[in-house]
C-alpha cells in the first residue's frame, strides 16, 4: 500500500472505504437482527392487545396502545386471576409440565447413554459380528436420516398393544431415540479431544476403566455434555409430529396445545399470542443465558 499520511489523498480514500464498509456491516447486522426479533416482538406485544389494537395495527406498547392482560387472562395467568382457581390455567400448566418432564427426561437419558457409547467408541475397538468401530458409529449416526414418519405408524400400533399410547413414557422413549445420534455426534468429538494419558495415569493409580471414566473423564467432558443436553432439550421441547400422533389427552405437550387452538372459531389473536409466548419463552431464556453452550454443541461436529 502507498505510504499513508494524515490528510493525504490516499489516506482519505482508505478512510472513506473503511467507513463505508463499517456502515454496510452494521446495516446488514441490524437488518437481520430486526428480521429475527420482529416476530418475537410481535407475538409478545400482541398478547397484550385488545381486538381494536390488532385491527388498527398498533405496534408499540404504551405509545400506540395500552397493554392489557386480556390475552393472558384467557390462560388464567394475569395478575387479577392468579389467585383464583382457573381451569384454563390448570390445563395450560398440565401441558407445560408434560413438555418439561418429557424433554428433560428424554435429554437426560440420551446424554447418559450417548456419552457412554461415544466414550466407548472413542477409546476401545469393538467387534460385534462384522461390525467394527466405524460401522457402529455409522449405525448410530445413520439414525439421523431416519424420517419420523417411517416410525410413526409402527409406533402407533406398537404403543397401542403396549398400552403406552398417550403416556409420557412412550414419548420419552421416542424423543430419546430422536436425539441420541446428535448426542453421540457431539460427545464423540468431545472425548476425542481429551488425551488418553489422563486415563492411563488413573489406571496406573488403581482405578478401573469405569472409575477412570466417572472420576477423571466425566468432569472434563461436562461442558460438552451440557451442550448436548441443551441441544436435545430444545429439540424435544419443540417436537410436534410424534406428540400429535401419539398423544390425545393425558400426555399432550405444549406444541400440540398451540397447534390445536388454531382451528377453533376463527383466530383469538390475544390468547393465541399469549399461548405462543408462553411456549417459546422458556427456550428464549435458555438461549439468552446458555448461548455459549448451544454454540459449542453445534460447532462440535462441524470443525474437526
Amino acid at each position: 500500500m502507498t505510504a499513508v499520511f494524515k490528510d493525504h489523498d490516499a489516506d482519505n480514500r482508505v478512510k472513506t472505504k473503511w467507513w463505508a464498509s463499517r456502515i454496510a456491516i452494521y446495516a446488514a447486522l441490524l437488518t437481520w437482527a430486526v428480521i429475527c426479533l420482529f416476530p418475537i416482538f410481535w407475538t409478545i406485544t400482541t398478547s397484550f392487545k385488545l381486538a381494536p389494537d390488532v385491527m388498527k395495527g398498533n405496534l408499540i406498547p404504551w405509545v400506540d396502545f395500552t397493554p392489557r392482560w386480556k390475552g393472558w387472562e384467557s390462560l388464567g395467568l394475569s395478575p387479577r386471576l392468579i389467585g383464583e382457581v382457573s381451569t384454563v390455567r390448570e390445563e395450560f400448566l398440565k401441558r407445560f409440565w408434560n413438555s418439561t418432564i418429557v424433554s428433560i427426561s428424554a435429554s437426560t437419558l440420551a446424554v447418559v447413554m450417548g456419552s457412554l457409547a461415544a466414550y466407548g467408541l472413542s477409546r476401545f475397538s469393538y467387534r460385534f459380528g462384522f461390525m467394527r468401530n466405524s460401522d457402529i458409529s455409522f449405525f448410530f449416526l445413520s439414525q439421523m436420516i431416519l424420517p419420523p414418519v417411517v416410525l410413526a405408524l409402527p409406533f402407533l400400533v406398537l404403543y397401542k398393544s403396549l398400552a403406552l399410547l398417550d403416556s409420557r413414557v412412550g414419548l420419552i422413549l421416542l424423543y430419546t431415540l430422536m436425539v441420541l445420534p446428535i448426542v453421540i455426534w457431539i460427545m464423540r468429538d468431545q472425548f476425542q479431544g481429551i488425551p488418553v494419558e489422563l486415563e492411563e495415569a488413573a489406571l496406573v493409580d488403581g482405578l478401573g476403566i469405569w472409575g477412570a471414566f466417572l472420576q477423571i473423564v466425566l468432569p472434563i467432558a461436562l461442558p460438552g455434555m451440557v451442550a448436548a443436553f441443551i441441544l436435545s432439550l430444545v429439540l424435544c421441547w419443540n417436537e410436534y409430529f410424534f406428540a400429535a400422533l401419539l398423544t390425545a389427552t393425558n400426555a399432550t405437550t405444549l406444541p400440540v396445545m398451540v397447534a390445536s387452538q388454531t382451528g377453533s372459531q376463527g383466530i383469538n389473536w390475544w390468547s393465541m399470542a399469549a399461548l405462543s409466548s408462553a411456549a417459546i419463552l422458556p427456550l428464549v431464556i435458555v438461549a439468552i443465558f446458555l448461548e455459549k453452550y448451544i454454540i459449542k454443541g453445534m460447532a462440535a461436529g462441524a470443525v474437526k
Binding site: W32, I40, T43, R123, F140, P147, V157, A163, W269, M298
Partner: protein
C-alpha cells in the same frame, strides 16, 4: 475417519473367570430370553383366542424384554470380565436403538403390504402389491416428492445467507455477543409456534403487519393463494428457523481457520473479495459441506410448519412427503398405505443421502 487398530486405552487384565460364573451368566441371558418368548407366545395365543386367560396388554412382554436387556448387560461383565466392562459402554445405547428402530422397521415393512385401515373392523389383511400400484397412480405423492426437491434446493439460498451472516459475525464488530444471541433465537422456537407467529398472524391477510406493509406499497397481499408464493412462504419460514443452525456451524469453521494464511493473503495484496474466493471459501469447503448435508437431512423431515399453516394447500402445492402421510393417516386412518409411502420415502432418502455423501466426500478433505 481412521479407525485405530486395537484399543486407544490399553488395559492389562488377568481375568480368571471360573466356569461356574460363566455358566451363571449365560443362564440368566437364556433364561430371561426364554421368558420373553414364552410370554409373547402365550399372549399371542390369548389374542388369537387359543388360550382362555392372558394379559390385557403386551406390557408384561415389554417388562420381560427389559429384564432380558438388563441380564444381557450384566452377563457381559459376569462372563467376559474386564472385556465385558468395555462392551458395557456401547451396549445399552446399541440395544436401545436396535429395539426401537429395527423391530418397528420390520413391523412397518409388514404393515406396508397390508390394506390396514384403522377404521375398518377386520384388522390387517395382506394385499400383496396393491399399495405399490396405488402409490404408482397417486399423483399427490409424486407431487409431494417433487416439492421435496424444491425444498431441498432452497437449502442453497439458506447456505448463502448463513455464510454471509457468519462472515458478518466474524468481522471486527462491537456487541458481537448481542448479535450472536439475537441471530440464534429463531432456532429456539418451535415450528408450531413459528407457524402461528408468522404463518397465521404476521401473514394474516387483513391485519397482519406484512400484509399492511404490502398494501402500503400498493400490492394486494395474497400469501397462500397461488402455489409458487405459498411454497415460497413455507420455505421462508423454515429458513428463518434453521438459518442460525448453519450460521453457527459456519461461524465455528471461520473461527478455526488458520489466521496466518489469511494474513498472508492480505500481505500479498489480495482484496477482500479475492481473499474470500481464493483462500477462505476453499478452506471452508469441508465445514460448508458438513453443514449443508446436515441441513438437507433435517430438511427431509420438514412437516410441522406445513401441517399447521397450509395443510399442504393450495392443491397440494406445499405438501412435503411427511405432511402428506400425516394427513393420510389423520384424515383417512389409512395405516397400511401410509406406511408403504413412508417406507418408499425412506428407501429414496437412503439412496439420495448415500449418493450425496459419495459426491461430496472429495470436498470433505481440506485442500492442501
Amino acid at each position: 475417519m481412521t479407525a485405530p487398530e486395537g484399543d486407544l486405552l490399553h488395559t492389562v487384565t488377568a481375568d480368571n473367570i471360573p466356569e461356574a460364573r460363566r455358566r451363571f451368566g449365560k443362564a440368566i441371558v437364556w433364561g430371561s430370553a426364554l421368558l420373553v418368548v414364552a410370554l409373547a407366545v402365550w399372549q399371542m395365543a390369548y389374542e388369537t383366542g387359543r388360550v382362555a386367560s392372558g394379559f390385557e396388554t403386551w406390557r408384561p412382554v415389554l417388562y420381560a424384554y427389559m429384564l432380558w436387556a438388563t441380564a444381557l448387560c450384566a452377563a457381559q461383565v459376569i462372563v467376559n470380565g474386564e472385556k465385558g466392562k468395555r462392551t458395557l459402554f456401547v451396549l445399552p445405547a446399541a440395544l436401545f436403538v436396535i429395539s426401537l428402530v429395527v423391530f418397528p422397521l420390520l413391523f412397518a415393512l409388514y404393515i406396508s403390504f397390508t390394506d390396514w385401515n384403522l377404521a375398518s373392523p377386520n384388522g390387517p389383511q395382506p394385499n400383496g402389491w396393491d399399495n405399490m400400484r396405488e402409490m404408482w397412480n397417486d399423483g399427490f405423492y409424486w407431487n409431494a416428492l417433487k416439492n421435496m426437491v424444491y425444498y431441498v434446493l432452497a437449502v442453497s439460498v439458506e447456505y448463502v445467507i448463513a455464510f454471509g451472516l457468519a462472515l458478518l459475525l466474524n468481522a471486527q464488530i462491537r456487541a458481537r455477543k448481542f448479535f450472536r444471541v439475537v441471530f440464534l433465537l429463531p432456532l429456539m422456537l418451535s415450528p408450531v409456534a413459528v407457524s402461528w407467529m408468522i404463518g397465521k398472524s404476521m401473514l394474516e391477510i387483513r391485519f397482519g403487519p406484512i400484509s399492511r406493509v404490502l398494501r402500503e406499497m400498493g400490492v394486494e397481499p395474497s400469501f397462500f393463494g397461488s402455489p409458487e408464493i405459498a411454497r415460497f412462504w413455507i420455505m421462508a419460514m423454515d429458513a428463518w428457523t434453521f438459518i442460525p443452525f448453519m450460521m453457527i456451524m459456519l461461524l465455528a469453521g471461520l473461527q478455526a481457520l488458520p489466521r496466518e494464511v489469511i494474513e498472508a493473503s492480505k500481505v500479498d495484496g489480495a482484496t477482500g473479495w479475492q481473499s474470500f474466493r481464493e483462500v477462505i471459501f476453499p478452506l471452508m469447503l469441508p465445514v460448508s459441506v458438513t453443514a449443508i448435508v446436515i441441513r438437507i437431512i433435517f430438511k427431509l423431515k420438514l412437516a410441522d410448519i406445513i401441517i399447521n399453516v397450509t395443510s399442504g394447500g393450495p392443491g397440494g402445492a406445499t405438501d412435503s412427503v411427511t405432511s402428506f402421510i400425516f394427513r393420510e393417516y389423520r384424515d383417512r386412518s389409512n395405516v397400511g398405505y401410509g406406511t408403504l409411502l413412508a417406507m418408499v420415502y425412506l428407501v429414496l432418502i437412503v439412496i439420495f443421502v448415500t449418493l450425496l455423501l459419495k459426491v461430496v466426500s472429495r470436498w470433505m478433505e481440506r485442500p492442501a
